[in-house]
């Protein structure tokens, strides 16, 4: 996807990934939820793939090519025919919507949350962060390719981004299942780069790459914390299908599992919440900084307000860990360092060290992201 230069190749690659997504979602053949999730994804993606091809045909009808370079050259200056301009605008909106389905933002948040929730744990971990770097990269290039046409959908992208942050934050508010809480939290976070994309300013694009890199690391840590909770509390008590992990299972976590793991959770949740000087703060800071630089003051203030709301439920988790009485009367699983979990601890500790030391490589990473954003090929 990073190196494709033609819409047909892009379609083929998205479908290739989508087919695999369906298989991964329905991987637990005996689970009703898993099959339902795969079927939902199949229906959703087939409808939007149909729309994608249909509106690509409009692009071909208007421009006579589906190659990225050709489209970019043809759309440097506006067409005189207003009908063609409208057709291109509608096509671009539908193409962007297809990508938003894959990324999982508003207005597809409820379907996407159901799909992610029903899929097996490993598949949910894959879906929630791995494809996002590639999808955002392609979306950035598409916005860039469509030149003057993309200027007309700036408002739409900002609106969808803001709605994702707002709805993700509010829906995460009342969740009792930890898995759904993490899913809505990720939906809320994916709204941030969309808002910057809506600015349509080449100088701000680097913040999207910066966001996705840290978002991936934070997601790895969030899902690691989910698995770690399973391991620490003992997986005989909790089952993904019959009795899934609840937020209230964190109650008295410090008493049952020790101060070390409680501090580990504090760092992760405060980082995702965006408290300084942790990595999550830099993500949100850069986005708000770019918004203010581009004179989008009201959007920046809204983002700060919604981020403050989201801090509430992360602090609620920390309150549960430290100040509530434990649900489990004894320490259920002391031996978390099993032989099969070497790789897990390697992944988690590497991500954790990277997040903790984000302050030290802040400037080199920004330079790296600027380099990528300047040299985006198409």
């Amino acid at each position: 996807m990073f190196s494709c230069g033609d819409f047909l190749i892009l379609y083929l690659l998205i479908e290739l990934q989508g087919l695999c997504f369906i298989v991964l979602a329905t991987f637990r053949k005996n689970s009703y939820f898993s099959i339902q999730s795969g079927l939902k994804y199949f229906v959703l993606t087939s409808i939007f793939s149909g729309f994608f091809v249909f509106f690509l045909s409009f692009v071909y009808f208007c421009l006579g090519s589906l190659n990225f370079q050709h489209i970019h050259l043809l759309l440097l200056f506006p067409f005189e025919d207003e009908g063609i301009n409208w057709l291109l605008r509608i096509s671009l909106i539908v193409i962007c919507l297809v990508f938003l389905v894959k990324i999982g933002t508003f207005p597809f948040h409820s379907w996407i949350a159901d799909i992610y929730e029903g899929a097996p744990l490993s598949s949910t971990i894959i879906f929630s962060y791995l494809p996002k770097l590639a999808l955002f990269d392609v979306l950035i290039r598409i916005i860039k390719i469509f030149g003057y046409v993309s200027k007309d959908i700036e408002f739409l992208l900002v609106f969808i981004g803001l709605s994702s942050v707002l709805i993700g934050s509010f829906l995460a508010f009342n969740q009792e299942r930890l898995k759904k809480f993490l899913i809505y939290s990720s939906i809320s976070l994916t709204g941030f780069p969309l808002i910057v994309l809506g600015l349509n300013n080449e100088e701000s694009i680097y913040s999207i790459y910066f966001f996705i890199i840290f978002y991936t690391l934070l997601s790895i840590l969030s899902w690691s914390s989910y698995i770690l909770c399973y391991k620490l509390l003992g997986n005989k008590e909790i089952d993904e299908d019959t009795k899934p992990l609840q937020i209230t299972d964190f109650a008295g976590f410090r008493v049952t599992c020790g101060t070390f793991w409680s501090l580990f959770y504090i760092f992760i949740f405060f980082s995702v919440a965006g408290l300084p000087p942790l990595a999550g703060f830099f993500l949100k800071f850069l986005i708000v900084f770019e918004l203010i630089k581009n004179s989008f003051f009201s959007v920046g203030i809204f983002l700060i307000f919604f981020s403050t709301i989201s801090i509430y439920y992360y602090i609620k988790l920390i309150k549960l860990i430290f100040f509530e009485k434990p649900h489990f009367t004894k320490h259920l699983n002391n031996n978390v360092f099993e032989s099969d979990s070497d790789l897990f601890y390697l992944s988690t500790s590497t991500s954790f060290i990277l997040i903790l030391n984000s302050l030290f490589f802040f400037n080199p990473l920004i330079a790296f992201c600027k380099f990528i954003s300047i040299n985006i090929p198409f």
């Binding site: 230069g5 047909l8 590639a134 790895i220």
Partner: protein
């Protein structure tokens, strides 16, 4: 046929092959599951998906060779981005395997789909 027709056919061929191979596999399952032949020969989803994927890679690779810098771009940036996603995939492997163990999904197909069919298109 113009060059565009050839190209359309070129794009569609791998998907057609994959669909046919899945149909063929379903046919084999329906008729030969109880036979000793099914037990002897490695007729399972991994085999057919691998075959389909190899064909897709072959066609994508062929199109890349034939129409270099038309369908695909090879710059330093694309290389860096690919390296980045590979690093993330490896970093994410720990939680993915643990989730896999926790839910007792005992099949190599999962890892096949994750690596070959999912990471490759990126």
């Amino acid at each position: 046929m113009t060059i565009n027709n050839y190209l359309s056919f070129f794009y569609l061929l791998p998907e057609i092959f994959l669909s046919l191979s899945i149909l063929f596999y379903l046919f084999l399952i329906s008729f030969f599951k109880q036979s000793p032949l099914y037990q002897k020969i490695f007729f399972n989803t991994v085999f057919y998906s691998l075959l389909g994927t190899l064909i897709i890679i072959f066609f994508l690779g062929a199109s890349e060779v034939c129409f270099s810098n038309f369908f695909f771009y090879h710059t330093y940036t694309t290389f860096v981005l690919k390296a980045l996603i590979l690093t993330f995939s490896i970093l994410a492997l720990g939680p993915i395997i643990q989730g896999y163990i926790l839910q007792k999904l005992n099949s190599p197909e999962f890892f096949f789909f994750f690596f070959v069919r999912y990471c490759l298109p990126c």
